[in-house]
């Protein structure tokens, strides 16, 4: 029997940062009704496993692109990077520019054709075709673990919002919100996730854009904000992207430019954007290769714009909030707010009734789609890359469809446990970056060599992947056991958590690539006949000559690339 007091928690906000009025609550409730209604409506379109796991491969470039970038723009992105901007300054915008744009364009122009032409269902599926079952199993298991852990982050973020804004009990929020997502994803699979992501993208921009607009007017524009930050933080550079990266001691993050370029810009970025199946799955659902490529490039453009609603609020908080925020480890102390709460706090500062409801709905939508994305990716990899090859090789399509639905729910339940792990980390984003370093960066080393070098052998793919994962864990454990080791791993004993992550990713990539290359020279490669459609030089690439110049992916990639260079120069 449910305790009636539990229901009161939903409608009382007296212990939170502020009270929501009836209109704010109506806005939130309308969103939940639409999301659940969409899930139920889309169930009729998920009749086969291909519909459920790949959305029938019928998405246009716009839908695929919005979904691609929204899968990345969850509550993790928004709250985590806003918190990181408060801690480290504009340097965090590297996550949106150098640590995203080159990798996304590389995915669109170079890697996507391989994924698309070989018609695989997943990145581990590509590894099976290229290297065999061993590499596929290792990558599938590690990816499944990562999605569950990432899903936990989204759940925790949601609970934070509920705690700060509404005063809900954090544990109660985790359980209630996860149940909603479970029902929703179970109904429509990837199609539900994609629809929710498009909706989320619109809501996030409409819900959060008020913060930078009002904040920049309050501080006297960008230059006024810079002046006030410099006055409030003397001796520290919070407002330059590259200027302070000549030494690890001259920026709040404690990172040298080599870490930003090689660790963040190459290892983490290329690993995440080109081999994290959660995002790649979205563009693989496009109706044809050109739509997939254009959708990806559209995603790159949208990604470049996101700092306006995430980084700028973090910077504004440095000068407009009347108190200092503290690490997550100090959460619960009376009267303090943590870094991770910066975005809800800024929302509360500028948004009145109605607008506040919209902003909170945007954050909830970010959580919902972030979690739904991870759960749907988990369901796909579990069913296609673990259950089907290892547990039940031959079964009907309906059986795998049913398995996908049930393991969506299982993924949600497993995520609940992992949500509690996040509470031990000083910042959500630090935890997420750490996971990418453990699981995604090693996979990138294996995938990229497999795509571009036909000599790479199946044994090398497997052992390179294993070596990468083990080295990532080893480096992390080394610093945990002996903090003095930070000066070797991150080239500075002053390195903060995020700097340690980017350097660890760099070492992991180097080790993964080295082991793969070395093992290749001592083992037997696959014959060319088995590599058609999988490797550069043995895959017929579609010619773009018949397409007008204006519609070619390369044209738009150049335009986005030029914008990326311009932004780096402007904020140098």
């Amino acid at each position: 029997m449910l305790d009636p007091r539990m229901f009161c928690i939903f409608f009382t906000a007296h212990t939170g940062l502020l009270s929501l009025g009836p209109i704010d609550l109506t806005i939130i409730v309308l969103y939940f009704i639409l999301v659940l209604g969409l899930g139920i409506y889309l169930r009729q379109f998920a009749e086969t496993s291909n519909d459920f796991f790949m959305a029938g491969r019928e998405m246009t470039a716009w839908i695929a692109g919005l979904s691609f970038i929204s899968a990345n723009l969850g509550s993790l992105e928004m709250m985590g990077y806003a918190a990181a901007a408060y801690q480290y300054g504009i340097i965090v915008a590297h996550a949106y520019w150098i640590a995203a744009i080159p990798a996304i364009l590389f995915l669109a122009l170079v890697m996507l054709p391989f994924y698309y032409i070989c018609k695989t269902h997943s990145v581990p599926g590509y590894l099976r075709l290229r290297y065999g079952e061993g590499a596929r199993t290792v990558s599938a298991v590690s990816f499944a673990i990562m999605t569950i852990l990432m899903s936990g982050i989204n759940m925790y973020s949601m609970a934070i919002i509920m705690k700060v804004i509404l005063g809900w009990n954090i544990h109660f929020s985790i359980w209630v919100s996860s149940l909603t997502v479970g029902i929703y994803v179970m109904s429509g699979g990837l199609l539900s996730a994609i629809f929710n992501e498009v909706l989320q993208f619109v809501l996030i921009w409409l819900g959060c854009l008020a913060i930078p607009i009002a904040g920049l007017i309050e501080t006297g524009g960008w230059h006024g904000l810079v002046r006030r930050i410099n006055a409030a933080m003397p001796g520290q550079d919070f407002t330059h992207l590259w200027h302070s990266l000549g030494s690890a001691n001259s920026n709040p993050m404690g990172v040298h430019w080599t870490g930003v370029v090689f660790g963040w810009g190459i290892a983490i970025s290329f690993g995440y954007w080109t081999t994290d199946f959660l995002v790649v799955q979205r563009v693989m659902a496009a109706k044809d290769l050109r739509s997939a490529q254009l959708g990806t490039i559209l995603g790159a453009f949208l990604k470049m714009m996101v700092p306006l609603i995430v980084i700028v609020p973090g910077l504004l908080a440095l000068v407009v909030l009347p108190f200092k925020l503290v690490p997550e480890t100090m959460a619960g102390l009376p009267g303090v707010h943590t870094y991770n709460e910066v975005l809800p706090l800024m929302l509360a500062r500028y948004c009145g009734p109605g607008l506040l409801g919209l902003g909170i709905t945007a954050l909830i939508a970010g959580f919902m789609s972030g979690m739904a994305g991870n759960v749907s990716a988990f369901a796909t990899v579990w069913t296609y890359d673990i259950y089907q090859p290892l547990i039940r090789k031959t079964a009907s399509d309906q059986h795998y469809l049913k398995m996908g639905r049930w393991c969506s729910l299982l993924g949600v339940v497993a995520s609940i446990g992992t949500a509690y792990l996040v509470m031990d980390f000083s910042s959500i984003i630090v935890y997420a970056q750490m996971l990418f370093g453990f699981f995604i960066v090693p996979m990138f080393a294996t995938v990229i060599l497999g795509m571009l070098w036909k000599r790479t052998t199946p044994a090398a793919g497997l052992w390179g992947l294993v070596a990468g994962i083990l080295s990532a864990f080893g480096l992390w454990a080394w610093v945990k056991l002996d903090p003095a080791a930070l000066r070797y791993v991150a080239f500075s004993s002053n390195a903060r958590d995020m700097a340690e992550n980017v350097y660890r990713a760099m070492w992991t990539l180097i080790i993964g690539l080295t082991v793969t290359v070395l093992v290749t020279f001592f083992t037997k490669p696959k014959p060319d006949a088995e590599l058609h459609g999988l490797v550069y030089g043995l895959t017929p690439m579609p010619s773009g000559e018949a397409i007008p110049f204006f519609y070619r992916p390369i044209t738009w990639a150049c335009i986005v690339g030029a914008g990326f260079v311009a932004l780096n120069i402007i904020f140098w």
Binding site: I23, I27, L30, L34, L199, I213, Y350, G352
Partner: protein, 72 residues
């Protein structure tokens, strides 16, 4: 296979409803001076947002109304 209603129709419907609700909240806030306590309350952001939503939402709703035209 059945024709799927475009996602943009759902988005437009939701934004229209939000526009109406935010407009009501804005009028209530002005009447009761509740918005005076907000930072930068003089910008009247709610009215601007309600206006934007009430333009964007109906445009998407009409453009992607089921059966209006073949869309995805």
């Amino acid at each position: 296979m059945r024709q799927m209603i475009p996602i943009w129709f759902f988005v437009g419907s939701l934004l229209t409803a939000y526009g109406v609700l935010i407009l009501i909240a804005a009028i209530q806030g002005e009447a009761s001076s509740a918005n005076a306590t907000l930072a930068m309350g003089n910008l009247h952001l709610q009215f601007w947002w309600a206006g934007a939503l009430l333009i964007l939402g109906p445009v998407w709703m009409i453009r992607y109304y089921p059966g209006h035209k073949k869309h995805n």
